[in-house]
Every structure is written in C-alpha cells, then in structure tokens.
Amino acid sequence: MGLVENGKLPGPLTTLLNISRKYSLWVYQWGLACCAIEMGAAFASPRYDVMRLGVIPFPASPRQADLVVISGTVTDKMAPAVRRLYEQMPEPKYVISMGSCANCGGPYWDSYSVTKGVDQIIPVDVYVPGCPPRPEALLEGIVLLQERIASEDMTDRWNRDPIVVT
C-alpha cells in the first residue's frame, strides 16, 4: 500500500481498493460501559446484524482491526490503555466514538476521574451522540464512515474533519 499512502495510485485502482476496504471493516469491540451493550446489540444480535454492512466484529487482536468503537466512559485510569490500543492498530485506522461519555464526558462532565472526551487522547472519525445511542445510530455512524472510506483520497486523509451523526 506504499503507493496509496504516497498518493500516486491511478484513480480507478484507488476506487477499487476503497470499495474493498469499505466492505471488509474489521471492527475491534472495545466495550467500556453502558454503550457496550448497545454495541453488542448492534454487532451480535440478529435484529441489527452488522455483518450485512460488511463489518466483521471478530478480530482477535487490535493488530488485525481497521476500526475501533470506543463505547463508553473513558476514565483517566483507562486513558493510557485506550491510547496503547490505538497505537497497536495498523494504518489505515478509524475510530468511532460512541455515546456522550466518549464524546465529551456526558453525564460525568464534572467528575474528577473521567476523561472529558476520548478525542483528547486519540483522533476520532465519527461521533455518535446519545446516552447510549440506539444500535441504529451506531449503524448510521458506520455507514457514514463507509461512505467516507469509499471516496477517500489517501493523500488528504489527515486533513479532514470528523463526521457528526445527526
């Protein structure tokens, strides 16, 4: 993928690679708090069935994952572990911040032990609001992320704004 990262790949080939990346997102489940249950409902329940979107929720380790869903409250004690997990993931990597706690601290905005937003530690691609967001909201976030991946130009991957699900 060296060519992709240098931005010297022909357009059609980039499109082809993007489509294949879009439909084989290996997502690492990072269950932190309440949102983990809604994430579990989205990923493991027959009703929401995330696999029909081409998202595979079973990587054995963060080394094999393309996407991580930070689902829940990140505390100051947890923050180094979140950072380390993110560093282990291979490029290109994406982060979905799920729920108010991960977005901004949520109901614990004035707590002494909660990190006010996971974006203080790692870059976030999609913010999914809610406390906790419904599984549909998480799926919407994933779909929006896939749309972005489909039209992604590797050279300017680093100069973009995050998506906010509304």
Binding site: G31, A33, A44, M78, P107, Y108, S111, Y112, S113, P132
Partner: protein, 390 residues
Amino acid sequence: MNTEASAQQLSYIENQASDARVNIELETEGMTLNLGPQHPATHGTLRIIVRLDGEQVVSAEPVMGYMHRGYEKLTEVRTYPQVTTLVNRIDWLGSFANEVPFILAAERLMEVEAPARAQWIRTALFELSRIANVVLFLGDMAVQLGATTPVFYAFRDREFVLNQIESVTGGRFHPNFDRIGGVKDDLPKGWIQETKDVLVRINSFCEEMEDLVVGNEIFQTRTRGIGIIPADTGLAYGLSGANIRSSGVDWDLRRDGGVGLIHDQLDWKVWTHPDGDSFARYWVRLQEVRESCKMVGQILDGIPSGPIMAKVPRIIKVPPGEAYVETENPLGIMGYYIISKGDLVPYRVKIRSASFNNVSITPWVLKGVYVPDVISILASLYFILGDIDR
C-alpha cells in the same frame, strides 16, 4: 447446608489441597498472568492479576477503577431528581431497578408514599428490568464457556423486553422514569397485552436455555463443583442476590425486606440451591427469570386503577434526616444511604452496590482453582463493571 453439599465441598477442598502440594515432576516456575483490562466477552474493564503455579492460581488480585466515575461525589452536586438520571447508569443492564431504592429512600425522608397504581407500575418495571438484565447473563455465561449461540438468543429476546420498557418510559436503557411520589407516566394503550406476549417469549427462552445450556454435559462439567462458596463465607463478604441464594441462604429482600414495592401481594417463590457452585448460580438465575415472568404476569392482571403521582412540591427539598433503603436488584442487594440537610441536593449518598461486594470475594474463591475455571467462576458471579466501580 445439607450433608451432600458439604461432602462435595469437603472433597473439593481436599482435592485442591492435594493439588497444591507441588508435585516434583510438575514443578513450574511461578508466573503472573494479567487478565484484562479489556476482554471482548466483557462489557467493562476489570483487570485481574493472577499469579500462577503451572495451571493453578496461587493468588488473584482484581485491579479496579477503570470505570470509576465518581457517583458518590457527583450526587452531592445534583438535585434529587437529577440524581436518578445519574444512578440509572450504575447497573446498566437493569437501569430502572437502580432508581427504585434511591426514590424509596427519598420518599421515606419526605414521608411521601406513592399511590397504589404507581407502586404496581414500579414493580412491573422493576421485574422487567430484572428480566432484561438476567436474560443477558444467561446467554453471556454460555458464551464465556465457549457456546456462542445462546448469546444470540439472549440478544434476540432481550430486545422485546427493551421494547416494552421503552414504550412506557421512552428509554431503552436508561429510563429515568421513577419520581419521588410516583412514576412519570401511565402505561400506554395496549401495553398489557403486548407485555403478555413478550412474557411468553421469555418463558420459551428459558426453556431453550434449560435444554441448550443447563442440560448440556460440557456446561455441567465446567461448572459443577467449581467455585464453591459456603454460605457463611459468602455472607461475611457481603454476597447477595442469586449468588448467596445459590449457596443455600433463603433470603430475598423482595419477600423479607418489605419496602415500597408490592412483591408481598404476588404469588411467587424464592429459589435456592444447596451447592453454591457456578452451576447453582446459573440455575438459580434461570429460575428467577421465570419467577419474574410470573410476577409481571400477575401484575398485568391485577394492576389497580387510580392516580400515579402523590402530591409533592414542584421543587423538591428533602427534610433533614438519614435513611437507608435497600432492594433486591438483579445483581443483588442495592441500597442508598441518604443524608439530607434539608437542601435541594443530598448532603451525602452512600451507594451500596451489589457487584462491589460480590466481586470482593474473588481473591478468596479463585485461590487454588485452575485457569479455565477462573472464567467460569467470574462469569457465574455475574458482575457489571459500573456496579463495581461506581
């Protein structure tokens, strides 16, 4: 404790003692294994530092605080109605049950009593949240022991319960529905019949689990005789709920506590199991889901009409005093000790959460077991991280 169970326990303890005598041929260097803080099968972050001698656990020390959100401090800067929003999130699988003891404690201080219909609605939602909570345990424990299918069934049937909770309260997860002096809204039209249909589904889910998991030979071998907790040890550690009932202690606050809810007007049974092992804990919880279904069914048939809110002032100031109220929540006994100084906010709230005490027994119960049994024991103790760390 009957004789069979104590004989079983004795042989278990003897086995462990003989295993602990290090065999020269199997002698190994000590090793430290770090379980967690993250594991795909858990929703939350508990880390256990396990020191191993070969396959055997020498000592286990949980490291917590990865989910410590400071509830007790935050309640001191929230008004009483705001506190319910916060405490919803302690045990996030049975959220409504978290509000109930807090509201009951505040009501005791204010000397307000909710009208009968409100109490019945409360009890119905309390038991529905127990079903929503424990159903997931029934699937989750199986998945931790290597059977993937039950958790799909659990998520499938849990959705229907969540739908019912949502159609009353407006929230799938965190209803924030209980108010000082009653409940926020009345039941929606058609809810009673829909809920009856859901109860049929949950009952058939219990049948499925009985066949798939409880009757499964592999499951039985992995759980029977594993992680035995004697009743007196469990009590001294403060174990509660199904964990202590599966050690043969016949104690359920819904029957014996007698606060605020209407369980005493219903016909149901407290299940106990003499063994105190992982299997017993699973089995007792399975029966409890069935009992809860029975209770909700009776509530739906007998719910009285009337107002749902007592007369309370618009701005809630709780008179000075102290009150402790505990209820039998899905995970065990949950209590709130409220100290009020007559202000809008509580002066201090001590939250007695069930999982904190339930997990505090792990260093004792994990000593001397084998590594695969650690998973079975932890899964069967059934904790929720928000409930441990608060």
